[in-house]
Symmetry: C2
Subunit: 427 residues, 2 copies
């Protein structure tokens, strides 16, 4: 163990982390009732101080507009009285969720009479690095508080005024309830250096969760000695099997692709069994065209393009690995289910893959062989979501295999410890 340097000689980031650890120690044994009261106080404070939050946000907006930021991005940044109320309401949603801390995960009496219990405990200090909207600031704080964790937040510089105001309101509410305000802190300092320091704070920060684009996530994964949970890259596939209800397949395809193309659970590639291609592709291409989707098809898909009214362009190898996040989809015809699985194994980011089939054997084989966070049978890829899965809010969708996989709710923000109780037992 490395000896800590005295507080006064620490960098601002190290001081922040040190205070977070101290706060985490106080949070860990809190009861659900205490934590829920704080969350309600936070929700109330956000509503009461809405004007202050919107004023701060206006400064971010003005700066973004001056810089010529695209209107869609500016809109994601913008807070309105309605959106502030929605943020408060989301915090109340977290109040309603069960507290994972203290849950007995397994337990038994050992042959020698020792009582063994494995119980959930908070992780400790959670670092979240995000590029998204200011509501993530409060969402993350609420989920971490409820699970007994202190949180270090690092939003994008474009939202710094909004995030500062939101965190001030949250901290005031926590302090007002007699709990340590340092449970929720922004990582101080400008530029990349503070994030770099956070990524090297192994032993002080228990986990880093990057939420944002592929570039951000890669940077954190490659430079962090703190354990990282990768989130959110989704190159999702819809596979239409030889035996499938064509209308159902079209509906699932269009919903998976076009109901909200900018999110990670939207479909990016269509795979079609060759036997159903003649019946399915003309209808599918027409429906995609109607939804405004451009298809990047292989030769066998292009062969069905005529008369469908669809925009079909030839696919290049890059298309198979692209997460478009737009009204585009790659498409190819495959010889059989195993070829579809092989394609997915090679190109998928391991987020969500759907099969549309009436065959029980095909459904079983596909779910067994596909190795992604979620496999959907006769359902849209869009269901991979914490709230859809009934977990309440989510802190992200993990696409890695360690610790958490798929939508991460409150239990995924915990670790466990074993408690062994005897009456003088020795080995």
């Amino acid at each position: 163990m490395t000896q800590l340097s005295p507080y006064d000689t620490m960098t601002p980031v190290a001081q922040t982390t040190y205070r977070a650890r101290a706060a985490a120690t106080e949070l860990a044994p809190l009861t659900r009732a205490v934590k829920d009261d704080v969350l309600l106080a936070i929700a109330d404070a956000i509503e009461v101080r809405s004007a202050e939050i919107i004023e701060a946000n206006a400064r971010d907006i003005a700066r973004a507009e001056e810089a010529g930021t695209p209107e869609a991005t500016v809109d994601r940044l913008r807070l309105t009285p309605e959106r502030v109320r929605a943020i408060a309401s989301d915090v109340r949603g977290v109040v309603a969720l069960p507290d994972p801390v203290g849950e007995v995960v397994r337990g038994s009496t050992l042959p020698n009479g020792l009582d063994l219990r494995q119980i959930r405990v908070p992780l400790g200090v959670v670092g979240i690095i995000y590029e998204a909207r200011p509501n993530v600031t409060v969402d993350a704080a609420a989920l971490c508080l409820k699970s007994g964790n202190a949180v270090l937040l690092r939003g994008s510089s474009s939202a710094v005024e909004s995030n500062t105001a939101l965190v001030r309101v949250v901290r005031d509410a926590i302090g007002g309830a007699g709990l340590p305000a340092d449970a929720v802190q922004l990582v101080p300092g400008e530029g990349h250096e503070p994030v770099r320091e956070l990524m090297r704070a192994r032993g002080q920060v228990d986990v880093l969760i990057p939420r944002g684009g592929a570039g951000l996530i890669r940077t954190v994964v490659e430079n962090s000695t703190v354990p990282v949970i990768e989130t959110g890259t989704g190159n999702c596939h819809v596979y239409v099997d030889a035996q499938a209800d064509v209308d159902m397949a079209v509906e699932i395809l269009v919903n998976s692709k076009a109901s909200r193309p900018s999110v990670c659970n939207a479909a990016e590639t269509l795979l079609v069994h060759q036997d159903i291609a003649p019946a399915f592709l003309p209808k599918a291409l027409a429906a995609l065209a109607e939804a405004g989707v451009t298809v990047h098809g292989d030769e066998r898909v292009l062969a069905h393009a005529d008369g469908s009214g669809a925009t079909v362009v030839p696919a290049t190898p890059e298309d198979w690995e692209t997460e478009y996040l737009s009204y585009d989809i790659a498409a190819c015809v495959v010889d059989d289910l195993d070829r579809a699985v092989a394609h997915i194994r090679l190109w998928s980011s391991g987020h969500t893959e759907a099969i549309v089939t009436t065959s029980q054997a095909a459904a079983r084989r596909f779910t067994q062989l596909v190795d992604s966070t979620t496999v959907a049978v006769n359902a849209s890829t869009r269901f991979t979501d914490g709230s859809q899965f009934g977990f309440g809010a989510e802190i992200g969708i993990s696409t890695q295999k360690l610790h958490a996989r798929g939508p991460m709710g409150l239990p995924e923000l915990t670790s466990t410890k074993y408690i062994v109780t005897g009456d003088g037992h020795v080995r």
Copy 2:
């Protein structure tokens, strides 16, 4: 996703990893019956080819003796007919364990009628870097096979002949059963470079588990982009509370320290409440002396040393953080339970801490506030062990909070995936 280079142009380590991934794909859907049959075939083959294994081991032993390796180390390396039989018997022990793959971890029917199931799946490719005895080679292979994972093994160069022979026998048995022998492979090449390459194989290797000294573990943690599970550093504490059965406390202390000092769950520090120190310390110091233990005590411990017959030397700050792994123990008197907890928070490696107390309130507070993999109440620290906990063999004891904490059995070698089943569900 990075495009893989053609197999022929890969480095030997990359080729090994590539073959492991292919094997992992074949292992994942295997039934328990098939996996158990292979394990039994491996156990039989190890017994039948015992002479070949011992012959290879003799070459390692000769080399170690020539190099003037200490006899204790040579003995750990040595395989005898009896030890080879024990290795085979451990494999049969893994056969008896339940298969974690396919276990439904949670499941529900969502409000919209979708069926949601979260099931255990293999991690994929597990890398194990170890310094220990050759039996780890077979243990790790058996546990990984049973949990459907391919394994890449990197033992110490001093055991290379033994490990090569053992892996040859294991691979022959796997191949003989018609399964991919590449499920079990040694990482090829000499020196540090192959290990370095393994540590950068993110996306190809799913997890690295270093087993060995603190130096090895630190190197892997700091240089790996592959997710790592830290194992095994144990600076364990025994705290004797104000209210405690003195004889029980002495017995637990001596067992925790001296029953096997070289292992990670042995106690390294004794903390004594000031109120019980006069009654407890003279007996404890005498018992430790009898067990051959040198005590590194603070001033208040030293005050009780006279007449105990114990070897007590003054403790330095380094003693609080030292994992002796020898017949030494640090000891200090604390003002109260909270000071004991504060000492543990500052110095412990977070492995196992024990409290000896007759007070229910003290036991409750200690278990709540101490944040280690295992908290023992009126029991020896030595119980933190996969086999003692009833998990069968263990792949290591994780001292980190993510994914696995404490003794790791078969479930800890798995991830999960969600299966969502509908009949045309869209959002």
